[in-house]
């Protein structure tokens, strides 16, 4: 009956909708990149400038109104794009650098070392990224953009390491690796020539997802007061400050959130799109 017809086609969506997803992701992320680049040399007002009265309602002069110190909300939200991209890319980069090396080590290590590393990674992963990042931030003497980025990168490296470890182990079982090994290739060249090219595509999709996770975690850190202070404030800090004046200026508590969500969704869609374009037989469910 009608039930049976709904089963089969649902698992595979046509390739067309997948490239559409990729395109939407690209547009959303591209928009934020454009805004971020614009803020480097132009913003409507200065980040710390008292541009108007306190808590002004939205107007032609201040599209999103002003905060409790008279700063222009739009300016702050725009700068938030730049901060988010810096932290997101930085954190994923650091997490990737540490994680891939650790994962490779674990995959190549002796059984005992591998077991110990795997157990430690499992436990680290059981903790939310945010909690680990909080500890790293607490360990550094002052909150800055760099500490937040570093903290998130370290916190995420465990996830990358575990993924890399599993991927590498899978590649190692292949015949071409055995062939390379028996023909006397050195380890570094096997890693560079056979392993990395094979695990790279999966890793990249994962990095796009982690970019979104990093941005949410950074916003949460900032919201808790553990992120970078103004003028480098992220959307998280804007939201924290705006929460106090949510009665009089609700837009301040809404706009940074919308900006944040649109960037994260953009990154997630990019990841989904990449995964599908690369391997159309695999479903996106997961």
């Amino acid at each position: 009956m009608s039930e049976t017809t709904t089963i089969a086609p649902a698992q595979r969506k046509p390739a067309k909708s997948r490239s559409a997803i990729f395109a939407i992701g690209l547009i959303l992320v591209g928009l934020h990149v454009a805004i971020a680049l614009t803020t480097v040399f132009w913003t409507p007002y200065g980040a710390m400038e008292t541009a108007g009265m306190r808590l002004e309602a939205p107007s032609a002069a201040h599209w999103l109104g002003t905060d409790r110190l008279g700063r222009d909300f739009l300016t702050l939200v725009m700068i938030g794009s730049r901060i988010a991209l810096i932290v997101g890319i930085g954190a994923v980069g650091i997490g990737a650098a540490i994680g891939v090396v650790l994962g490779l080590l674990a995959a190549f290590a002796t059984k005992f070392l591998d077991d110990v590393l795997a157990a430690m990674l499992d436990i680290l992963i059981a903790f939310p990224v945010l909690l680990l990042a909080m500890l790293v931030v607490a360990a550094s003497s002052e909150a800055s953009l760099w500490t937040a980025t570093l903290a998130l990168g370290i916190a995420m490296s465990a996830i990358v390491a575990r993924l890399t470890r599993i991927l590498v182990k899978r590649v190692l079982q292949n015949d071409f690796v055995t062939a390379a090994r028996t023909s006397g290739s050195a380890w570094p060249s096997i890693v560079l020539r056979h392993i990395l090219p094979n695990i790279w595509p999966t890793l990249i999709v994962n990095f796009a997802l982690q970019f979104g996770i990093a941005i949410i975690a950074e916003a949460s850190l900032s919201y808790l007061g553990l992120g970078a202070p103004l003028p480098n404030a992220s959307w998280g800090r804007l939201l924290q400050e705006a929460q106090g004046t949510v009665y009089t200026a609700p837009l301040g508590a809404i706009a940074p959130g919308i900006a944040l969500v649109s960037l994260v969704i953009g990154a997630n869609l990019l990841a989904d799109g990449m995964r599908e374009l690369r391997d159309p037989t695999r479903s996106t469910q997961r």
Partner: protein, 306 residues
């Protein structure tokens, strides 16, 4: 074994924090002798190995030490804070299951219908929304505009005022539950898809079972296995993730205790909260493991590690 590794990771992670814990409890002008005395009292002057042994034995005696700042035994404060965080987490968890399991199954079975598509978009949105922002939005709507619910706080006498306590927990619980169900729904949906495409379901259908009957008899059990392990992870992280939500709604739970302890470099308190959380995450994982074995007899024999 994994418990020991967890404690080790925790211990050394904490020792990595710079800033002498004992220095923070003395005034800035403390003399070197005073600092040395404080270090001796705390035990941070001992070699690392000795500290670790002491740390372990103290745990087994359930002695978490006393707070540097308030002088209150850590175990007492953790217990008190737990009376806020635990109900918050458990209620949110239960609500999340109630929301996500039926909706997840529905969105997989009826994936062609418009409402299933909407559900899938909403769950995608939910993953991108930070918990604290959803909390702020809910406050904006239900506390400020509609004036139905309080925007935060907790009765000073705690659960001695049950009605007040429950009222103040509604918004935080809903916030956590909605965020959790967004992620959970995707897993339930994926698990259901796997079941729908499976051979045993097709066989059951071919043998004349109705679709709903086949799903009930064969699908649920199989679909439950991956979902249970995700549930375990989600419960653990919801417990730890309470930090942010407690801040949004100014709840005096474990999260705000941890945040304050980190700000004040109050070692015993940080340690106490983290120990308890680790223990809880591991115990929940263990329970999830047992549940999986109960559901799937094949797992009762030794499982291969990936």
């Amino acid at each position: 074994m994994s418990l020991l590794v967890a404690f080790m990771v925790l211990f050394f992670l904490l020792r990595l924090l710079p800033g002498d814990p004992s220095a923070s409890l003395l005034s800035v002008g403390a003399s070197p002798e005073q600092i040395a005395a404080a270090r001796a009292q705390v035990g941070s002057d001992l070699p690392l190995g000795e500290q670790f042994v002491k740390f372990l034995t103290d745990i087994f005696r359930l002695d978490l030490g006393t707070s540097f700042v308030s002088g209150v035994p850590v175990a007492d404060e953790v217990g008190e804070r737990l009376s806020v965080t635990l109900p918050l987490t458990l209620m949110a968890f239960a609500l999340a299951i109630l929301i996500s399991v039926p909706l997840g199954i529905l969105s997989a079975v009826k994936s062609e219908r418009w409402y299933a598509q909407v559900l899938s978009v909403v769950s995608q949105l939910g993953i991108a929304v930070p918990a604290f922002w959803l909390g702020i939005l809910l406050v904006l709507v239900f506390s400020i505009n509609l004036r139905w619910l309080p925007s935060g706080g907790f009765p000073t006498r705690g659960w001695e005022e049950p009605l007040d306590a429950v009222t103040k927990l509604i918004l935080p619980v809903v916030t956590v539950a909605l965020i959790m169900s967004a992620a959970l729904m995707r897993y339930v949906r994926a698990a259901t898809f796997d079941v729908l495409g499976s051979d045993y379901l097709r066989t059951a259908r071919a043998m004349g079972d109705s679709f709903a009957g086949a799903l009930r008899r064969h699908g649920l059990r199989n679909g439950a296995i991956p979902v249970i392990s995700i549930l375990g992870i989600e419960l653990g992280s919801a417990f730890l993730g309470a930090v942010v939500i407690e801040r949004v709604f100014t709840l005096p739970g474990l999260g705000s205790m941890l945040l304050l302890a980190i700000e004040q470099r109050d070692y015993p308190n940080i340690q106490g909260v983290l120990l308890l959380s680790t223990l809880l995450v591991l115990v929940v994982g263990f329970i999830a493991d047992i549940l999986q074995r109960l559901v799937d007899p094949r797992l009762r024999s030794e499982r291969a590690r990936i």
